[in-house]
């Protein structure tokens, strides 16, 4: 049983989010503030003394200044550290795992740095970077991972709990449930000042996740045909007990404000299996709409997917997606949103769809998407049919300055026509309408595609001549 990589990524992001709950992120932030203040005392003072007290000033951008101008001279050792870190980042971004691990070998010498402040912040760095490399390195094995994390637990005691939890999750996603459980027990046995309450909660949450996966294993193993057998009955009972354990722990942790995506998904899965739809819906609603929770687009996505699975009314679906659109205008569900909005004879919804599509195409990831351009073409035609060309003009007004260069350059026309002709035609239609048929994009497409699709282009030209919005 392996987690889907995408799922895993979202778990990682979720764990990051969760730390902010446990206050560790705040610690880091404080530390950052402290360093910034320490490094820039004189400048900061100057600014505050000139201005009235009580005006909150943003942090001076000292952190971005080159090192040589920061006043105190940097030692060669720290320069090596800084450059090494930069190179590791670069190697990670470029997925050069071999180079990254070679640099990491060197970077470990900073463990011996004498200053306590630097040590504190760097332990987390060693852990994060090392984990990242080991997770992706083609030659690393799970044993390497285990021994590395065990060492990290020993040097950075402050991060012990976090490391244990993440270790356990990694083991879980590799299907090593027992080892994962052992890690959780280790985390449980560890005591530190004031973290006990939250610590327990977290560990229980992870326990719930483990129980869920055991439950999944059992349900997969349950043979279809022998459902009424005696052994099957006991297996079912077994599953039931795991379900109970898991749901208690999961529901407890989901009640805490935070980002709990994998926990939520597992819980919904469990509830759906036992047909407890109301509870699932209630939980998802809370997760998405409770103001105590940090804004999380995934919460809305899960809610939408759940509603769609259970044939919820159109109005509810649109409502969920409308909120998602506000949060993430470039979300992939937006096309679905538009197709939902394409109801005949509802002017209001056509207007909304037009807005959604325009803002979707503001993002470069949608630049050459055939579906997006196609639905924009359709929607524009629909809008003309309704006779509300002013809407298009409104949308265009704010984009007039940069869309021509962003979408409708002659170079792009040639390129798109060669690589992705349908997009090129749709774009040419939009460009022709918005910029007039003399615009570069339309002319290029018209010239280039005249031989292949003469009738369609002629028709398009005619349509544009009749409806052009260009001044």
């Amino acid at each position: 049983m392996r987690l889907h990589p995408k799922n895993r990524a979202c778990v990682i992001s979720h764990t990051w989010g969760r730390y902010s709950q446990s206050g560790v992120m705040d610690d880091l932030y404080e530390e950052l503030l402290a360093t910034a203040e320490q490094e820039a005392p004189e400048r900061y003072d100057q600014q505050t003394s000139i201005l009235q007290p009580g005006f909150p000033l943003p942090l001076p951008p000292k952190l971005q200044l080159p090192h040589s101008r920061r006043g105190r001279k940097e030692s060669g050792f720290h320069k090596t550290e800084r450059i090494c870190l930069r190179q590791i980042h670069k190697a990670l971004f470029q997925h050069q795992w071999h180079k990254a691990s070679a640099l990491m070998t060197n970077y470990f010498q900073n463990i011996e740095d004498k200053s306590y402040r630097r040590q504190r912040s760097s332990y987390e760095r060693f852990w994060r970077l090392g984990t990242e490399i080991l997770r992706h390195h083609p030659r690393s094995k799970i044993d390497d991972f285990n021994s590395f994390l065990d060492r990290m637990k020993n040097i950075g005691v402050k991060n012990y709990l976090k490391i244990c939890l993440e270790h356990s999750f990694h083991l879980l996603s590799n299907g090593m449930l027992e080892d994962a459980n052992r890690q959780l027990s280790l985390a449980e046995s560890w005591r530190c000042r004031d973290t006990c309450a939250t610590q327990q909660q977290m560990i229980q949450g992870y326990r719930g996740l483990l129980d869920y996966y055991t439950w999944v294993q059992k349900s997969d193993a349950l043979p279809e045909t022998e459902k009424y057998d005696y052994t099957a009955a006991t297996a079912k009972q077994d599953m039931q007990s795991y379900f109970r354990q898991a749901s208690v722990n999961l529901s407890a942790i989901i009640k805490q404000p935070g980002v709990w995506d994998p926990f939520v998904l597992s819980y919904v899965n469990l509830l759906e299996f036992y047909d407890d739809h109301d509870a699932a819906l209630h939980m998802l609603n809370d997760y998405a709409y409770d103001n105590k929770f940090p804004p999380n687009p995934n919460a809305h996505v899960y809610l939408y997917q759940f509603l769609k699975r259970h044939q919820a009314p159109w109005r509810k679906l649109v409502k969920v997606l409308r909120i998602l659109q506000l949060l993430v205008p470039s979300h992939e569900l937006m096309l679905e949103f538009c197709s939902l909005l394409a109801v005949p004879d509802k002017r209001k919804y056509h207007h909304e769809a037009l807005k959604v599509l325009f803002s979707l195409l503001d993002y470069s990831s949608w630049k050459d998407n055939p579906d997006a351009w196609n639905s924009l073409e359709k929607t524009i035609q629909l809008v003309f049919k309704v006779g509300a060309s002013a809407w298009i003009k409104d949308e265009w007004a704010s984009r007039k300055g940069w869309w021509p260069a962003f979408h409708f350059s002659a170079y792009q026309a040639k390129k798109t026509l060669a690589e992705n002709a349908p997009v090129a035609y749709s774009k040419a239609f939009v460009a022709g309408l918005l910029l007039g048929k003399e615009c570069k994009y339309f002319k290029t497409i018209y010239k280039g595609g005249r031989k292949k699709r003469p009738e369609m282009l002629k028709e398009m030209k005619k349509y544009i001549a009749n409806h052009s919005l260009a001044e």
Partner: protein, 613 residues
């Protein structure tokens, strides 16, 4: 008490200095004993201060002792090499022998001298020049070869202070503890001074044990640095550089530092090659550990201080035949910067006109006041830059427009190729970027921590050892992952960082190109360029001025900035420093023409300068 104390120490100084456990400067090999060593089968025997034979190559001490003969060569300077037999006791904390800081530095200096010797400097370097500087230093600073060793003086002063002050406890135990450590056995009977030290001994003994591994490490305090010229790691390089300067060797200061940074000359973590008996501990760790390479200027400062401290005479004169003379040094940099050889005749003129080639201004004289730092390589680079400004103007217009002409001439004509500034710029830019990248990579992979753990006190020992083990384990683990990534092998030491080749495509050589595009058709030396720009010539006070470059950079032409960066990369100095030196050279060059009250204008035009050259 004061009197008694002085008396006691005059007694004890005769066995004071125990130096040269590790022969610094190639002592004569022992001829008496010719058996090969059991460990390394070499036949190079030396004699320890206890009279035992030891192998010079592997430091293996054998049981055989030297028969003491009166006609021994050492007895002539018996005082200098006074061998204290059996007086060096093993101290607490399994610390090995008692040793002095200067012994440690001597060991480092020896390693550095050997490395420099291996680079091919003249054989006098180590045994004559560096050795005599070093001896003179030891004597002047009263660390050896003296009747009044420094430590005794310190102790006397300290003791007199303590006798005057009623609160002797608060003075701290170091002076008395050192005394109790040194004079144990002898001073026991001297009840007078011993009793004072005894009264604090339980405390002070502990204090000593935490203080340092070396005997005099705890006396080494930064605030005494100025008065007493205490040794520090950068000073070893200063000694080397000073000896090279005395010999007028071709290794310049910036080159020396580059070799140190590249690891050809031991500097970082040298202490890990100390013999077993020299245990680094406590304060010693701060003295011998380095966490950055010194800058050119700081070494220069050290050289000045040392030379003044040693009362050195005027150094040998830098004549026109010396490598350090700008005329010759410039050839090297012209070659490295891939510029045409023809430029040298203009450099020669600039040197002559500015008077920078005169012996008086080039020779280092520690007694001259005020002492002016002479940075030969920076001077040479600044001369080249000024000459380039004369020829190419470097105002982001002239050089490019003439490059166009050169390009068209090159296209049409066969024969000697004409120097094309644009082509040169593209080549150099590429090479510089690549070299910068390589340097950055090297910096990122530099190992600053030494292989064996060193710790400040026994309290932190366990933590340090644990961390070290952790680091080693982690490094092994990641090394396994790295596997067979080809690491660039270490380059052999070279004076040149850039190499150019006539044949190769990506590293074309411009040395033979002619400057015809930049000259007037009729005259031989007359340049087409008749303008010259420079920044404000006003001199500013050194202590307030932190380099103009950062302020002026946005207003300066880009091609000038590029050339500045190129040379600052080659010399490994800050470009602001180089800019200041260019400014200085310009001042010399334009002295006659410079207005008495410089106006605030940044870029002035000085016309008709070139024909007068």
């Amino acid at each position: 008490m004061f009197l008694r104390k002085t008396f006691k120490h005059t007694q004890s100084h005769s066995r004071y200095k125990v130096l040269l456990v590790f022969y610094l400067f190639t002592p004569p090999p022992q001829r008496d004993y010719r058996e090969p060593c059991a460990q390394c089968s070499e036949v190079t025997w030396g004699i320890t201060d206890e009279g035992k034979f030891y192998c010079r190559s592997c430091h293996n001490v054998i049981e055989k002792t030297k028969e003491v003969t009166t006609a021994d060569s050492f007895t002539a300077n018996a005082r200098i090499f006074s061998i204290s037999k059996g007086l060096r006791k093993k101290t607490k904390l399994e610390q090995g022998r008692e040793w002095y800081l200067c012994e440690g530095f001597q060991f480092i200096l020896k390693l550095q001298a050997d490395a420099i010797q291996a680079l091919g400097v003249c054989p006098q370097f180590k045994d004559e020049i560096l050795c005599s500087f070093w001896r003179r230093y030891l004597q002047k600073s009263r660390q050896a070869y003296t009747k009044k060793p420094l430590e005794d003086m310190m102790r006397i002063r300290k003791a007199s202070e303590s006798s005057q002050s009623s609160d002797s406890q608060s003075l701290g135990g170091w002076s008395s503890s050192s005394e109790s450590e040194l004079d144990e056995g002898q001073s026991d009977k001297n009840s007078g001074p011993a009793s004072t030290s005894r009264s604090r001994s339980p405390l002070s003994d502990d204090f000593t044990s935490v203080c340092s591994g070396s005997v005099d490490g705890r006396l080494h305090r930064p605030q005494r640095q100025r008065a007493r010229m205490l040794l520090s790691m950068p000073m070893t390089l200063a000694f080397c550089s000073m000896s090279l300067l005395w010999l007028r060797e071709s290794i310049t200061l910036s080159e020396l530092l580059r070799f140190a940074a590249e690891g050809h000359i031991p500097y970082i973590n040298v202490y890990q090659s100390f013999p077993e008996e020299l245990k680094l501990y406590g304060k010693d760790t701060h003295i011998f550990r380095v966490d950055s390479f010194p800058s050119c200027e700081s070494i220069q400062q050290h050289i000045y201080k040392i030379a003044a401290f040693l009362d050195l005479p005027r150094f040998p004169e830098i004549t026109e035949n010396c490598v350090l003379h700008p005329n010759i040094l410039c050839i090297k940099y012209l070659m490295e910067a891939n510029l045409p050889d023809e430029i040298h005749s203009y450099i020669w003129r600039v040197v002559k006109r500015t008077g920078m080639g005169e012996e008086a201004s080039l020779t280092f004289d520690p007694l001259a006041k005020p002492a002016i730092p002479i940075n030969y390589d920076i001077k040479a680079a600044s001369i080249i830059i000024v000459t380039l400004k004369l020829i190419f103007k470097l105002d982001d217009e002239f050089e490019w427009s003439l490059s166009n002409d050169a390009e068209s001439v090159n296209r049409n004509k066969e024969g000697v190729e004409i120097f094309n500034f644009r082509k040169w710029y593209k080549t150099m830019k590429l090479a510089l970027d690549k070299a910068n990248e390589g340097v950055e990579e090297d910096v990122a992979r530099y190992m600053w921590q030494c292989k064996k753990p060193i710790f400040y006190s026994s309290k932190t020992r366990s933590v340090v050892v644990k961390k070290k083990r952790m680091v080693v384990n982690l490094q092994q683990q990641f090394k396994k992952l790295t596997g067979s990534v080809p690491r660039t092998p270490q380059q052999p030491p070279s004076s040149f960082q850039f190499t150019w080749d006539e044949e190769s495509q990506d590293k074309p050589c411009f040395h033979g190109h002619s400057l015809r595009a930049f000259l007037k058709k009729s005259a031989v030396y007359e340049l087409l360029n008749t303008g010259y720009w420079h920044t404000a010539l006003k001199q500013c006070r050194k202590e307030y001025c932190k380099g103009h470059l950062h302020l002026e950079e946005p207003h300066l032409p880009r091609s000038y900035i590029f050339i500045l960066n190129l040379f600052s990369f080659m010399l490994k100095v800050d470009s602001a420093l180089l800019h200041a030196e260019v400014h200085e050279t310009e001042r010399l060059l334009l002295k006659a023409k410079a207005p008495t009250t410089p106006s605030g204008k940044r870029r002035r035009r000085v016309l008709h300068l070139i024909p007068c050259l």
